[in-house]
Amino acid sequence: MHTVPTFRKGGVHPPDQKVFSREQEIVRLPLPGELVVSLSQHLGAPAKALKAKGDTVVRGEKIGESVGFISADVHSPVNGTIKEIKLVMLANSVQCDAYVITVDEEQPELSSEVVDWKDLPKEELLSFVKERGIVGLGGATFPAHVKFAIPRDKSVEYFVVNGVECEPYLTSDYRLMMEKGKEALEGALIAAKIIDAKKIIVGVELNKKDAIAHLKEVVAQEGWPIEIVGLKVKYPQGDEKQLLKATIGREIPSGKLPLDVGAVVSNIGTCYALFEAVVHQKALYERIISVTGEGIANPKNILAPIGTKVSDLLEFCGGLTGEVEKLVSGGPMMGFSFFDTETPVTKGSSGILALKPKKQVRQTACISCGKCVDVCPIGLMPTLMYKNITHLNYEVAMNNLSLMDCKECGSCSYVCPAHLPLVHTFKTGKKMGRKK
């Protein structure tokens, strides 16, 4: 019997909700008058500001320099003038400095120069990755040059491309695969060359059958050594642990990296950014954002510069409609809710959602139904972690119940009939536990 690959333990099936923006082709946002480019576009230390108030910047110019090991460069998305540097709060509640850039009326033409990367050495390719500020675009924004710098004692068997997009609502990766599938796959080839991967696998969930068909067609036409794998729909398959289990059948032990099981995982969007960085010599200063949800008048997939304010995106989509309870940056399962529409988007913003009010259900005590234990993809016991954290037993939660292995995927909160704020508590518990 042929079985469709997926990860085995746990997982949930939230409603798909991709219908709002699924058929919307990617459109370029007309340049807004002002951008707010934060210096914290990535996981790790914020970049150091290279420009001051009043300076002029050009598109693609480096305006923030990476500091420390895990950090990435920031580039200006436009030609313009720096109006000021101010403290902003991002959607994920991180506070950091940001350039406020007044955008020039005149913008240079995009160059059509194409670089042939096939003969370039991998060290040079890796330097492009660093110089052009490539980070993981799935949401975690881990700097790509750090991920692709493979230590000498490790080797990479598989390069797994994440085209799962298991979060409901989001369609940016889907549109990318449909419209820029060939470029993204070429990006995957570049990445595979950098890290010396023996095999390339692209995992896509079966709710995107046309994207799978399209990618397979591209691979067949070009004769590329890339395998496209259709995966059974299940959340959180887009997490690298679950994706590797589903595609290559290997499990990453607690506290280890994909590299420890001979694999590197990158988002399909990151592969496309890599293609642009190498072939078109373009820094990562714009990305595809799904602006969708019940509360958006005309949902769209928008190619927008980094630093676009959410209000500009909403306006482009016809504004909010009906009752809106929450604005979310990212997907509804792991994304961050925010309230200020002046919040700028970053390299990690895969979507902006406007969600309608949820039926309010009263919270009860935990009834020990064990549903959270059943759905936890890591095999933790969320209810016991919750009870220990609420009783301030951080050490028990961390050492005995492996709180730190929790990825906050939200499956437990999603199914909890008592409506306990499980993920919320785990986030707090991790912070408090680290302090002690």
């Binding site: 009860t364 009834i367 139904c369 909160s413």
Partner: protein
């Protein structure tokens, strides 16, 4: 955008499936409805009075205790469900003060003294039943003849469940398979069961206990209707198969292997299906042992818990002198539940499977 809508900010996830605590409680109550209606039909309107009084007492107790604690938890439906379970576990002719005492005990002692919903270690409904059983044993062990057996039931036998009857007979020195013992004594069976039994080659007593034509507590007589309720809960994913299946199978298999020994028949002579159908086993396995609060969290833990329930039920039934084998076994495993949860954990992602490790060593 001139007017900013009211935007809420909260931690992810921003979606939730449609489940809620009260929803689950109402679904369990709904699953008990067929058996409840059958019980009322079988034993008369007084059974309805018993059930309503139990539910009302439970709800009132919960409400008053909530007043002291300045919270209202009655809407979660758990107290009403406990009351229903208590009512269904009463013999049909019990004096009305007994279900009141049982429900009060269930909610006040078993549930609230430990902190209310989710904090109790013993199943409240079962605790209530066991409490009144050992306090008022005579009332709790006299049973009314079901309506469907009235014509066939000799007066001398009224007031005994098949299981209790067989037990008494064996204690009195009789030997033989339980169905034979029933037949010897002229224990009645419905005409339908006799006809079906003749054509299918199944003992009529088994058919009657499956359909629910036996004496017993109001809600526990019809295995068929309880199974329908149980399957409904399984389909709704409110319970999982682990506890009921391991419980029923383990007790039936043990009974098949060793159950004939007390009756002087040697091993592998006990009954398989009839043992499953008698007494409150099905009711216990589907609705009592699966109580969320007092059963283990993980699937592995649930299997161990189910096996434990099955083992003790078999032990108490075949070798114990006390009635209430099912209730006591479940309560016993309730005590072990925290320990099971402490040591039986799901395999963590990326950890080696213990069994596979052993293979590798060997």
């Amino acid at each position: 955008m001139n007017e900013q809508p009211t935007i809420r900010v909260s931690s992810s996830p921003h979606l939730h499936d449609k489940s809620s605590t009260s929803n689950i409680m109402w679904h369990v109550s709904l699953a008990l409805l067929p058996a409840t209606i059958w019980g009322i039909y079988l034993f008369g309107l007084y059974s309805l009075v018993i059930i309503v009084v139990s539910m009302a007492t439970a709800a009132l107790t919960e409400f008053l205790l909530g007043k002291i604690n300045k919270e209202c938890t009655i809407w979660d439906g758990s107290a009403v469900l406990t009351g229903l379970l208590v009512g269904l576990n009463m013999p049909p002719s019990v004096p009305i003060f007994i279900p009141i005492v049982a429900s009060f005990f269930a909610i006040f002692v078993a549930k609230w003294t430990f902190g209310g919903l989710g904090a109790n270690w013993a199943n409240p409904a079962l605790s209530g039943r066991v409490f009144v059983f050992f306090s008022f044993t005579t009332y709790m062990s006299s049973f009314t003849t079901p309506r469907t057996l009235l014509s066939a039931m000799p007066d001398t036998l009224s007031g005994a469940t098949p299981l209790g009857f067989v037990k008494t007979a064996i204690a009195g020195g009789a030997s033989g398979a339980s169905n034979d013992l029933l037949a010897q004594a002229g224990y009645p069976a419905t005409q339908l069961a006799q006809k079906l039994g003749m054509s299918l080659g199944i003992n009529p007593y088994t058919i009657d206990s499956f359909l629910g034509n036996i004496a017993g507590s109001i809600g526990e007589v019809s295995a068929l209707l309880l199974l329908i309720g149980g399957i409904y809960l399984l389909i709704r994913k409110i319970i999982t198969w682990h506890i009921p299946v391991t419980y029923l199978l383990s007790s039936a298999i043990l009974n098949w292997i060793f159950g004939g020994i007390p009756a002087g028949l040697g091993s592998f002579s006990g009954t398989f299906f009839p043992s499953m159908l008698s007494g409150g086993l099905i009711f216990g396995a589907l609705f009592m042992a699966t109580d969320y609060v007092t059963s283990p969290l993980s699937a592995k833990g649930k299997i161990i818990y189910g096996l434990g329930c099955g083992f003790f039920t078999f032990l108490f039934r075949s070798f114990g002198s006390m009635p209430e084998a099912v209730s006591v076994s479940i309560l016993l495993m309730n005590i072990l539940t925290p320990t099971i949860d402490r040591y039986i954990r799901p395999r963590k992602f990326g950890e080696k499977n213990l069994l596979k490790k052993k293979e590798a060593v060997a």
